[in-house]
Symmetry: C2
Subunit: 120 residues, 2 copies
DNA sequence: CATAGTGTTCTATTTAATTATAACACTAAT
DNA sequence: ATTAGTGTTATAATTAAATAGAACACTATG
């Protein structure tokens, strides 16, 4: 779901844009070879300057996630596929965490911390 | 685990500092009323200027997570407690995700997306 | 070949984040 | 009172992020 970035959120706009596009890919809404909206339209959607959009796309091009074609558009190059079993597991985990009254920020912090801590 | 911030990581230094301190609290390494290292020492640990540390602490003071005492130090004011059942659930989920070959970044993106999506 | 729609490049400006440096003020202990 | 250790405040300078605006270049189509 592409939407305006949150300004002054502590996350640079160009990073938020990268995250949103990556999420679209992960969720399967953007598939291999599919075209992104034109950069000027993306700038309108995200409510940022076109240069900020280009910065995001440049980074993703470096990661070989998207690819530009002069005069045509930006295309999805690589789709990371998520293991089929992963989604139900995550959904169930999120359901439980919400039951426990744990919020998204706390969850993200805990996961980052446990990810390092856990062996494997 | 307090350690140097990552520069040019796409996350402002002051935000990284907040995250690290919050994690310490969540993991129970910093408990209610316990004192943080002196601000100058924190600046050395995080490898940033003292002003950047102060910015982080100011934000956390506004959230009522820490509290300063002039001439003495900064203290933990509020510890968010994590439901006892949550940790094992998260550990198990992380173990599985790693088995599936899913990385931390992808996990965070999926969780952010599913958190919004799921009803509840 | 003209045009509309696209990406690309460039320069300048503004705003946010970070650093550097210094001085000041409170607290506890001597 | 003095001192060492602490937080506080202030100013200036630097760097990174974001904006603004314009011009350029490629592609497909009529």
């Amino acid at each position: 779901m592409l939407q305006p970035v949150e300004k002054h959120s502590g996350v640079p706009a160009y990073v938020q844009i990268i995250h949103m596009i990556k999420k679209e890919i992960l969720m399967g809404y953007l598939t291999e070879s599919s075209r992104l909206p034109p950069v000027r339209e993306l700038a309108t959607i995200f409510e940022v300057n076109i240069n900020t959009v280009l910065k995001s796309l440049d980074k993703m091009a470096q990661e070989e996630i998207v690819q530009s074609e002069q005069g045509i558009g930006y295309f999805i190059r690589k789709t990371q596929d998520v293991n089929d079993e992963a989604m139900p597991v995550l959904r169930e985990t999120i359901r439980r965490l919400k039951t426990y009254g744990i919020g998204l920020e706390m969850t993200k912090l805990l996961i980052e911390e446990l990810w390092r801590t856990e062996n494997g």
